[in-house]
């Protein structure tokens, strides 16, 4: 029987069995990894962003080592790729894409939205980022430079958006509630 004749569940079962037999990964390790992946969600990245908005020391850590900053708020990063954090500022806006496949900061944002893997998003993000952002309702003035970050290799990238006006005095939980996944890859910006 060839792989083409085997249905995906049987193939998965066979691969898992081989991983165990060759002592590469135990069933428990695989189950743990699936649980961590399933549990990740944009709320985790939102907690990091909200903390960075109110705590300059944490923001400095986040910009220098995103994985350490994630671990500092209890997000499991063992076995995950390094996490780079891109800071938006009044003159610069970052947009994250993976033109080669679907690299996404899953550890802190969970599974990517379906469109993140689409050929249309991947092509247009690098070719016409301003047009793409305008379609998302994120028009950028000429004074703002766009930095498209194409995740091609060993890093995963998330965006630290600017704190919206009108949020003075808000606590971290309330700030975190403003954030959507798109804000943390730069297709949208948060507003209060």
């Amino acid at each position: 029987m060839t792989i083409l004749q085997t249905d995906s569940d049987r193939l998965l079962l066979a691969v898992r069995k081989l991983l165990a037999e060759k002592a590469i990964a135990t069933p428990e390790e695989i189950a743990e990894r699936i649980a961590i992946t399933d549990a990740a969600n944009p709320g985790q990245g939102a907690r990091m962003v909200a903390k960075a908005w109110v705590d300059p020391e944490y923001k400095a850590l986040m910009l220098s080592d995103g994985a350490k900053a994630a671990e500092a708020v209890g997000i499991p990063m063992r076995g995950m790729p390094p996490l780079g954090v891109l800071e938006n500022a009044p003159g610069i806006h970052h947009l994250v894409v993976c033109t080669l496949c679907s690299c996404y900061p899953r550890a802190v944002l969970g599974y990517p939205p379906f469109w993140f893997k689409s050929a249309a998003y991947r092509a247009r993000a690098v070719r016409d980022p301003r047009g793409l952002l305008a379609d998302w309702g994120t028009p950028l003035p000429d004074s703002v430079q766009v930095r498209v970050v194409d995740s091609t290799a060993d890093y995963r990238w998330m965006v630290l958006p600017m704190r919206p006006e009108g949020t003075e005095g808000w606590d971290e939980a309330r700030l975190a509630s403003l954030l959507r996944d798109g804000d943390m890859i730069g297709v949208t910006v948060p507003s209060a």
């Binding site: 033109t99 980022p129 930095r147 498209v148 091609t152 290799a153 060993d154």
Partner: protein
């Protein structure tokens, strides 16, 4: 090691025309000139890891490319930043 600000060119090479391969350097950058932003670390070459071959540890850089130089149009100052391995970069 390459220094931030250094001009580099992505090799104009198409290994996919020579046989099975796994490449982390996008087509649209091949042959184009960029500027090194910073060194990101050292990682085993994914082109070998993908085939379970012994993998050399390579320097990985964040390299910036001006939109206009890639596409012939674009807003001045807009750029694309990409992770590239030393094996794909040459002095510009």
């Amino acid at each position: 090691m390459l220094a931030p600000g250094q001009a580099v060119r992505v090799k104009l090479d198409w290994p996919e025309t020579r046989g099975p391969c796994h490449i982390r350097t996008p087509h649209y950058l091949r042959g184009h000139q960029g500027i090194v932003e910073r060194h990101l670390g050292r990682f085993p070459n994914p082109e070998d890891l993908a085939f379970a071959r012994p993998a050399a540890v390579l320097d990985l850089y964040h390299v910036r490319f001006e939109q206009k130089s890639l596409w012939g149009e674009g807003h001045p100052g807009d750029a694309i930043v990409v992770e590239l391995y030393e094996s794909w970069l040459e002095a510009a």
